[in-house]
Amino acid sequence: MTDQIDVITSEEGETFDIELEADLLKANREIASENHRRMKEYEIVAIDVMGSVGSGKTSLIKSLISSLKRRYRIAVIEGDVTTTIDADLIAIEGVPAIQVNTGKECHLDANLIRKALNHMKLNELDLIFIENVGNLICPAEFPLGSDKRLVVISVTEGPYMVVKHPLMFHNADAVAINKADLAAAMEVNPAKLEQDIAMINPRASIVTTSCRNGLGIRDVANALGLDS
């Protein structure tokens, strides 16, 4: 019978609360500011490029490099879960590329960028593109220390990418609506996507692009404050 009786033993001590104000994103933010300061010392402009897997981030960066490399000394930090495919593609353009593999993480964080900067000859650079891991959600939460944030979406992702991922667009300085040459085949109206973006973020510059025929590449550069 005794094993059916709940025995409450008195515990020593008491329950008490401690008020805290510990910001969980502070560490990342501080490293991001440090990255930013460090790049400013060398007068480097840094662009964080974000967007879904397959939206054309690497292709757009390649197109931007070929239209900008006469004016700027450029390097690229390539973020991926694994492989050096993107860094290899960038290297074809003749600019230094560093691959940062996150292993299992879905986003780059400021600490990974700090490490990447340690491997770069900053005194030989004017412009750094940081290609984030393909993902429209997580990278929005982790600033890296860049000057501008460019979000790349493509018409092949369908008509709802913007309304489904508003936060990513809310913080963007520029948005490229890519693969415009496929819009008719996809039956997606880029003007509607543009409208969706403007509703969430009226400050963002929006450019329709195609890396195949060069549409809008210069306009993206201008939207980012770069002279092409």
């Binding site: 008491e14 104000e21 510990a22 993480e105 809310h170």
Partner: protein, 136 residues
Amino acid sequence: MHELSIATTLVNSLLDFMQEEAAQNKLVEVHVTVGKLRAISIEQLVYSYRILTKGTLLNGSKLIVDENPATLHCSNCDFKDKFELVDDSFHFQLPTLSCPSCGASLNIEGGDELVISRVRMHGHPGRNAATRQFSI
């Protein structure tokens, strides 16, 4: 997916915090404030916390998430309103960001917090427990 990395930061911070606590003190509850605009799934955060705390000093402690609202503010005519969800069919959706009163674009204030706000302990409070500073 980033809930796991946020939970890892949270658990590591709390383990650091516990190092300064008396050995017999036990952490029972932690309150984290998450802004409404943070793309964080509370369910996944709580789940990650439970897994990560297993076998540690924090084993059995409970993570309680308090949501913090966001406010809409028009810098042109000073219109203010509570941020409301437009549609619950997705995670969340931002409202039209133009002022209903004057048409200028609206700013969103707050709603981006991610803060450990309070811990509930069991044991003996130290002399400075109520005012203890803690940084990550």
